[in-house]
Symmetry: C3
Subunit: 137 residues, 3 copies
Amino acid sequence: MEEQEKPLSLVLFSGTDDKLTAASVLAVGAAAMGRPVNIFLQYYALDAFRAGRVNDDHRLSPEATDAQAPVVRAHPGQHWSELLRQAKDVGEVDIQACALSMDMFHLRKADLDPIVDGIQGVAAFMASASDGQVVFI
Amino acid sequence: MEEQEKPLSLVLFSGTDDKLTAASVLAVGAAAMGRPVNIFLQYYALDAFRAGRVNDDHRLSPEATDAQAPVVRAHPGQHWSELLRQAKDVGEVDIQACALSMDMFHLRKADLDPIVDGIQGVAAFMASASDGQVVFI
Amino acid sequence: MEEQEKPLSLVLFSGTDDKLTAASVLAVGAAAMGRPVNIFLQYYALDAFRAGRVNDDHRLSPEATDAQAPVVRAHPGQHWSELLRQAKDVGEVDIQACALSMDMFHLRKADLDPIVDGIQGVAAFMASASDGQVVFI
């Protein structure tokens, strides 16, 4: 396996728009380099991928100060869901919901945005991460 | 060294019950795959591993909303300390307290829950991480 | 390439003093082992590296409780910017500002502390990360 082909695996825990954007930018970058990208949605991140809620205001990380928050919100960048769609268009990006978190939030596959490809246990996710990088956000 | 045998190294910084649970689930998954797991306890995570305090309410990540928090709390999953004990039962899981954070909180080994195996400097932790994955939570 | 020579790449998102210190300790540890260290500054972390603001009070992670915060603040350790200077002295440490975040905060290179080496896009950062570890803090 060539270096560039090792997967980048993102465990998304946080569901705030700033962290989801930072994660999506990494996903776009890796996908553009031809690397497979695995995304595993847990806790608050999973909650942000519910059908009909993706474009809601998911707030910013609680550390954003009163000075920083308006600056971040005013930035005219693309929405993280758009970035993820782009990443899927250019590369091999697999978005899986964590089975435990699905159970926690009483969700079924139909409750999620169609950008989510399936539901996975942590063992399957760790197996897909193989010897590539694993990043928790 | 085979792929599956590369260690998974977790730097635990956050001491909230949701992040500690997410970390412990990763540890269980990796241990079940036969991978060594190194856990390095810093800051608020170290504080959560004090003797007699592991089962306290360590709150949730500050990003949890009033709608999300009760759902997360109501989930009848196992406590993160139980998950870590399971991970130790099935695999090779080493839990080390960061020497700098021990100093910060004025702690000695006897002040920690017995699930913690020892005290380590960052250099030793980075050496044990070898070329496996390092995840900061 | 030998194991020890694989880069450690840190994506710094958070701009609080505790997380910046934790990140800098990892950077010092890796640099002392002879590993190249790449640091990529985004969002609130980038804001903390502005010229003239590095030594400001950047607060602690919002999860710090009223009991923990004074303990962390009272610890007489070195400032994270000093730790990063040390890491640069002993090893090969490259600190790059994320181009997207520079745009978000309307910053130019001259607005940043001189410890920052340049401005980089995510693709260049991911390329420099190669097959080393990537840690998001």
